[in-house]
Symmetry: C2
């Protein structure tokens, strides 16, 4: 075997993950979730089924990993110039993505094939990181900003709870109302001085 | 066939449901979730597997129905004399039950085998009904009471969100803090007059 053919385990491992994840995403849109099987994914990804079973345990855990990867934000929250606008835009977009039928399926997958809770925790960490960016930016502007955990309780939790359990009447107006009730009608987000 | 042997469909249907649900609960504690199969449940319940497939579709949907039944509160919230005490006691008990390993398993089951969202909605409706009893009682006492949906957002949603996604540090102190932040340090729950 030439030197070039010897790949680091990490390299091969990463390639297997990428091709298996891609196969799942393709097949989800082509054949749908109910028709998805480990042998089907393996064939599309060019690996053996046992590679998938060894690494992911079962289809549910694989779907959970793919879901978490899908739910990872790929950009920083947009800067709209003040805390209220930033939180409102973020909450509207979060609701829009998560409450879509594919968003809900991904959240359920992330929660489901996740015996140790790590994937659910990762979803929540993604939201917390985005909130943290928004709050830090507000602090830099001299705005009075709440802390991350309180923002999770007042904004992220009710959005996610209603998406999962109580979706009737959910929409951008609800997201805006949460922000208004959280920051106060004219309350939060004002400059600390001036 | 004698008159006595002719049972109404509703009666038989209810008996099948009761015996299948009981079989699931027994087997969950005896063999665990991973070893549970439809034929095993059918054998214990004294029905055919096809009876279960016809009625529930698959094991996941059956587990979801059993979970919702388990999550139904069997008593009214206790009356501790004022809104703050009632909400605090309810939130502590809700967290205690739902955050237990069996509680979390039931919530996940309720969410998962639930393609149309009806079972998740039912879980949320149970919580809303209990909150409604507490708030109506506060109103009867002449206390200023918030509305049910706001209470869902401020109390139930963060509890459930953290149970599912962000369980680190969850405990009775967190439940009490949510109530305090919601009602105000000495704010809500005071008599409207006097």
């Amino acid at each position: 075997m030439s030197r070039k053919q010897m790949v680091r385990p990490g390299g091969r491992s990463a390639r297997v993950q990428a091709s298996v994840h891609a196969a799942v995403r393709e097949l989800l849109s082509e054949v749908g979730r109910d028709a998805l099987t480990v042998p089907l994914v393996a064939e599309r990804a060019g690996v053996t089924p046992s590679t998938i079973y060894r690494r992911w345990g079962d289809l549910q855990e694989l779907l959970s990993d793919v879901a978490v990867e899908h739910l990872r934000p790929d950009t920083s929250p947009e800067d709209h110039g003040d805390l209220r606008s930033d939180l409102t835009a973020w909450a509207e977009q979060f609701l829009d993505e998560m409450a879509s039928s594919s968003g809900r399926a991904y959240i359920r997958d992330a929660l489901l094939g996740d015996p140790d809770g790590g994937n659910a925790g990762q979803c929540s960490a993604y939201a917390a990181e985005q909130i943290d960016v928004i709050l830090a930016r507000a602090g830099d502007r001299g705005e009075h900003a709440p802390d991350v955990e309180t923002t999770m309780d007042r904004l992220v939790a009710p959005l996610m709870y209603r998406i999962l359990f109580r979706p009737a009447g959910l929409g951008a107006a609800y997201a805006r109302r949460l922000v208004t009730e959280f920051l106060g009608a004219g309350g939060g987000g004002r400059p600390v001085t001036g």
